[in-house]
Amino acid sequence: MPYDIDKIRHDFPILSRQVHGKGLVYLDNGATTQKPRAVIESLVDFYENHNANIHRGAHGLGSEATAAYEQARGRVDRFLGGNNGNEVVFTRNTTEAVNLLAQAWGREHLKAGDEIALPISEHHANLVPWYMVAKEKGAKLVMLPLDADGRVDLGRAAELIGPRTKVLAFAWVSNVLGGINPAKELLALGRAQGALTFVDAAQAAPHFPLALTDLGCDAAAFSAHKMLGPTGVGVLWAKESLLAAMPPWQGGGSMISRVTPELVTWNRLPWKFEAGTPNIADVVAFGAALQYLKDLGWEAIAEHEAKLTAYGLARLAEVPGLKLYGPTEPGRRVAVFSFKLDGVDPTDAGALLDAQGIEVRVGHHCCQPLMDSLGVPGLIRASAYLYNTEAELDALAEGLKKVTRTLAQPRARA
């Protein structure tokens, strides 16, 4: 079936609105994506027709809600290439998933002198939780440098990942540079040292099915809202053996098997890690998002995004004074473009693009160590997704040219 971009855009009500009187050009998908009607309707349908708490009520509504929630878990599991829902834990977001792993696993296994290896390009979400547990246990972070392409330098990683490495954690796709890291090769380095291997898939999951069982990591995490789902839902995937060996992180209802004042025993997987009433409706709607993506077809999405990547690279190259970071070869990156403009403060560029209806992100992108290593205070980031068009990238390129013209030549006022 051909990729009908007009029909797809029609599925996203927000894309037809205006911002500051201009047609919306939404290019901040790395931050969060827009929602198709199917996801919005799923939320409404849940609250109008099926709302009840799950895993407890001895009534029909509770059973319906539980079934819908667990059906979403099954969809996530299949998206990950798995066949074992026990390995899928719902969290609030990727950040919470990393905190869960760092705390539950790290407190048990890390000790003074241990090392946690992370690329310098990591999002704070996959850095600060490890920093916190490292501080507590006397372990230290070892930062892996990038190659000229902005991806993890495998040669240097091989030197830095050694017998002291107890954790190797990295983003599959950089939220700033858009580069796709050589995940399999990196994981092999970590596995060879017996390290816990964790993949932050927050920027990968929106673009391709993760096939985690094939990838060879111990754990991974991603967020629903970056792939058409609602905010407030994240996933921690981990091998069942790992989850079974880890103590729970948060205590409360649902995660227990038996409670007495003297002894508490834990529920079975995955509920051991889902304390309290979860974000039921949003999880259900995430299931609708995964179904929408599957119906569009991952191959078709990838083909469309590859076109956008190549087109975006070409158009941005025409903007005077623009320096792009990350891989220049389309096959090594996704359609996430971070750049600076000579003599232009990123916040000015962001505001002036916004005034044209073009929504991008500016700043350090939750990657201060990367900004320091690049020697920039911040960058401008335009991130495209499956509903963006080449015409929107034209608007971005022309908008940026206008920004540079405006800021280079202040006009005389009347």
Binding site: T347, A355, A412
Partner: protein, 146 residues
Amino acid sequence: MTATLPPKLQAMVDELAGIDDLEEKYLVLIDMGSEVPDIPADRKTPACLIQGCQSVVHAYTTLEGGKLRLHGYADAKIVNGMLALLVLGLDGLTPREFLAVDPRFIEKTGVIQTLTPSRVNGFYNIHERLKAEALIALAQGDAHAD
């Protein structure tokens, strides 16, 4: 909120408030900023750096014949435009006159509604710094008068 603003500031606020198109509003604000003289390099020190701004902003005051002279510079052009409202619009007032101006005049310009809270706070942080120096000048002036 203060009903009347000093004439120079009032004119700047009115000019911005009269522009509906956001892009045009930003352009005029940037132009206002271009009229702000840069400050001497020896004033671009941590002592004059405004904390809590996303971009680098320096601001300070001097006292000339009982009037408060305002100086400042921001690397980012839109912030520099907001700075212009203060350092051009309120320059040359007595400390007491300066303190009588409610900084929420910025809301009337329509330029902050679309900016992130951190940048709106940046404007108020600049004003807070100038206000603190105005209070010191006022106290010193009163002590002198005593």
